[in-house]
């Protein structure tokens, strides 16, 4: 079963090569690759749930000398989310780019991005993580600028520079770790690391880099323009996955590798930044005139929730209480991933149909595309954190943890953020009602509308109603 780990990386990479070499057949190749990689991700998820965490030593060299890939419950879940989002977005992208030449240039980058996501989620080596971060950053930038519109290129350039800064900070931390502990392997490091200046400084540097990449307030400023000006499938993946895997790495470092080092004050700092992100992001989303910017600002806010978990988790005693809350964090991240991807895909359809994405002029389009509007509504449910979405379970755990540890501020922020989210979501949904002629069918353009609808449905009904396995997986794959 451990081979699934390497296949998860090799398969999209091979797909990238194949699409580049056979540009005419690139779309079918990409779709086949997407399906196959998703199946592999599913297999891995199953394997982790059955056998616990898996690892694979590349080249047969033991971890330390060589590089090990590892998958536990957390990474398996995020890999599955990645697969779902990428698969759906791939299907969508197949029709989104109307020109064959554009598609042929798009697929290799797309699959390389997927490669980097999987590689990052599986990597068990600090330096290798740096390389995957760079691969992720570059492929994300290349995709963000894809199409070459001025605003997109400008935002992508800014994105690239900040990403590079982040990577360099990360690498500086890595070098400190190597200097101090002589190893890059995470598992070895977990055992070796001690609360001392080397480890603190290294963690601070790596975290700073990752915070920049995951766009936590006040390091978020690059995100809205980059996510809002990219093409729809790219925006979906940027918002749903790219920032998310950087966050994953933070969680991995803070909760796992350097868990002994983390102090309440540090976690509290992340919490405060998260709180600010929630409020500021939501407020900006409420004020913006454009749909895609709204979605992008919403990402800033939603990431804030994930950071609120840090002080809460730290305040809870290790054991079932903390594990349960941690599951809340994961399910919140998963839900946001699926929902935000669906949201961007749906917005893309609206944008293509109406030629713009100005919120105040959406009326007709929103009503002529009921399925897409419904997808936006479902995504909204997940973003607000209403039941039965997975985000509801996540926020419940967040609130419960805050109550249990007496951290009232987070409760207020969570509630306020949810209400603001409701405000900006329903600002959009209001335009779905009116007396525009209703189309004959609810789903008017199947291949474009279904991916968004399925993703958002999964976020709402799938994770919300069948979310319990997430906790089991985290437990069995710990």
């Amino acid at each position: 079963m451990a081979e699934t780990l390497i296949w998860l990386i090799a398969m999209p990479m091979a797909g990238a090569v194949a699409t580049l070499l056979l540009p005419r057949q690139s779309t079918p190749i990409a779709c086949v690759t997407a399906v196959a990689a998703s199946l592999v991700a599913g297999t891995l998820l199953y394997a982790v749930s059955e056998q616990g965490s898996l690892s694979y030593e590349i080249g047969g060299w033991s971890a330390g000398l060589g590089i090990a890939l590892r998958a536990d419950g957390l990474s398996a879940l995020l890999l599955m989310m990645t697969a779902l989002v990428m698969l759906a977005s791939s299907v969508y992208a197949g029709t989104y780019f109307t020109k064959a030449a554009a598609r042929a240039r798009f697929w290799p980058l797309w699959l390389l991005l997927w490669t980097s996501l999987n590689a990052l989620l599986l990597s068990g080596d600090l330096f290798n993580l740096y390389v995957t971060l760079e691969l992720l950053g570059l492929s994300a930038v290349a995709l963000a600028s894809f199409g070459g519109k001025f605003a997109a290129v400008q935002a992508a350039l800014r994105y690239l520079l900040l990403g590079l800064l982040g990577s360099m900070m990360f690498l500086a931390g890595v070098s400190l770790i190597y200097a101090g502990y002589g190893t890059l392997d995470l598992a070895t490091l977990t055992l070796a690391v001690e609360p001392e200046p080397v480890a603190w400084t290294a963690l601070a540097l790596m975290s700073a880099g990752l915070l920049l990449k995951t766009a936590l307030f006040p390091l978020h400023f690059w995100l809205p323009p980059a996510h809002a000006s990219a093409s729809a499938p790219v925006s979906a993946v940027l918002s749903a996955l790219v920032v998310k895997v950087a966050f994953y790495l933070l969680v991995r470092l803070w909760m796992d590798v350097f868990a002994d080092l983390v102090t309440p004050a540090a976690a509290g700092l992340l919490g405060v930044m998260g709180a600010a992100a929630i409020l500021w992001g939501s407020w900006q989303a409420l004020r913006t005139e454009r749909l895609k910017l709204l979605a992008a600002w919403s990402t800033v806010a939603q990431l804030g929730y994930l950071f609120l978990f840090f002080p809460v988790l730290l305040a809870l005693p290790p054991g079932p209480a903390r594990d349960t809350a941690f599951g809340g964090l994961v399910i919140l991240a998963l839900t946001h991933g699926l929902a935000k991807a669906g949201l961007f895909l749906a917005i893309g359809i609206i944008q293509q149909r109406s030629g713009h994405d100005r919120i105040n002029e959406l009326n007709g389009t929103a009503q002529r595309l009921p399925a897409t509007t419904f997808a936006i509504a479902l995504a909204g449910v997940a973003l607000i954190g209403l039941p039965p979405s997975g985000a509801f379970l996540g926020k419940w755990q967040l609130l419960a943890g805050s109550f249990a540890s007496g951290q009232w501020l987070w409760i207020l922020v969570t509630i306020a953020g949810s209400l603001l989210a409701a405000a900006y979501i329903f600002r959009v949904l209001g335009h779905a009602f009116g007396n525009q002629s209703y189309p004959r069918h609810s789903v008017t353009i199947a291949r474009e509308e279904w991916p968004a609808l399925i993703l958002t449905t999964l976020a709402v009904a799938g994770l919300g109603l069948a979310g319990a396995p997430v906790w089991n997986l985290l437990e069995s794959g710990a």
Binding site: A14, L21, I58, G64, P108, L176, V198, A202
Partner: protein, 323 residues
């Protein structure tokens, strides 16, 4: 020892002053040239610190190719990009804010440097942890090469290198996707042309040598690829439009050569029942060379492409060939 110390101090001081100068000036071209000088001094420093592989790479890539890229960018006025996004400083309040910001960032950076240095000092004070280096030398025999750096790069941590090639490929594809390249330089004078006539073959030969020697001495695919790319750069500067680079499909093949060879080997071994990229010791040398060759091609193609800054356009009518 003292001579060494003097050298060290000189090197360090020149590094710092060159970097400061390169970053302080507002003249883009000057900045780039200072940066190239910085790169060369850095290569010296690598050499001083017993890292010849890195020194070679730095000289070829860090100083050479990066410098060339930056210079071209300066020529294309690319450095002006993003500038307009920041509003001009007019109001006093805004200016004050700006000053405050600058001071804050500067202080933070100084604090960061101090922190880092302090932590580093702590790390150096411990007993050196050589376990990994020892493991490398212990396994060098079965790695298929005798240069430990190459062994790490292409065997022990070959996966890193695979991803690195993917990074290169991504950059190339990203550049590709931006549209066609700008027209090449005007044809240089006959002197440069003459220079190019013998410089290019020499560079190509050097590349081949570096590739070969990488197995047991400093050198390898990256240095070789960079050298090869340098040859193309020279041609380009001489006014050759596509500098012998294939266009269209063949270019694709060259770009993905590294990644695909890597993957083919890795997956082939996987299919044969070995771990991914787990070379049998007997074949290791050959396989590494195979991969390195492909990687060199890919690196060269990518670097040249980067230098072009876009898809090379097929030459209109005139077939251009290197001598």
């Amino acid at each position: 020892m003292t001579a060494m110390l003097v050298l060290d101090i000189l090197l360090v001081l020149s590094l710092l002053s060159l970097a400061t100068a390169a970053l302080a000036t507002n003249d883009a071209r000057r900045s780039v040239i200072l940066f190239m000088a910085f790169g060369l001094v850095l290569a010296l420093a690598w050499g001083r610190l017993l890292a010849p592989d890195v020194a070679l790479a730095e000289a070829a890539i860090g100083a050479g190719l990066s410098g060339a890229l930056l210079l071209t960018a300066v020529r294309d006025q690319a450095h002006r990009a993003l500038r307009s996004s920041r509003k001009p400083v007019h109001e006093r309040g805004r200016a004050n804010l700006r000053v405050t910001l600058e001071w804050t960032v500067t202080l933070l950076c100084i604090a960061l440097a101090g922190l880092l240095a302090w932590a580093l000092a702590q790390a150096f004070d411990r007993a050196p942890k050589d376990t990994l280096a020892q493991a490398v030398s212990a396994n060098l025999a079965i790695s298929g090469v005798s240069n430990p750096v190459t062994a790490v790069l292409l065997n022990f941590r070959a996966y890193d290198t695979l991803l690195e090639l993917a990074v290169l490929l991504t950059a190339a594809l990203g550049i590709f996707a931006l549209g066609p390249a700008r027209p090449g330089h005007r044809a240089a004078g006959p002197v440069f042309d003459g220079l190019a006539r013998w410089l290019v073959p020499a560079l190509i030969l050097t590349a081949g040598y570096l590739l070969w020697v990488g197995a047991h001495a400093p050198g390898g695919a990256f240095q070789a690829g960079a050298t090869l790319a340098a040859a193309a750069v020279v041609l380009r500067l001489a006014g050759r439009r596509s500098v012998g680079l294939p266009t269209g499909h063949t270019l694709h093949v060259a770009m993905v050569a590294g990644v695909s060879m890597f993957l083919a080997v890795g997956l082939g071994l996987l299919v044969l029942g070995r771990p991914f990229l787990g070379y049998p010791p007997a074949w290791a040398g050959g396989l590494i060379l195979l991969i390195e060759t492909a990687a060199m091609l890919a690196i060269a193609a990518t670097l040249v492409l980067a230098f072009f800054g876009g898809r090379p356009t097929p030459a209109p009518g005139v077939a251009e060939k290197t001598s």
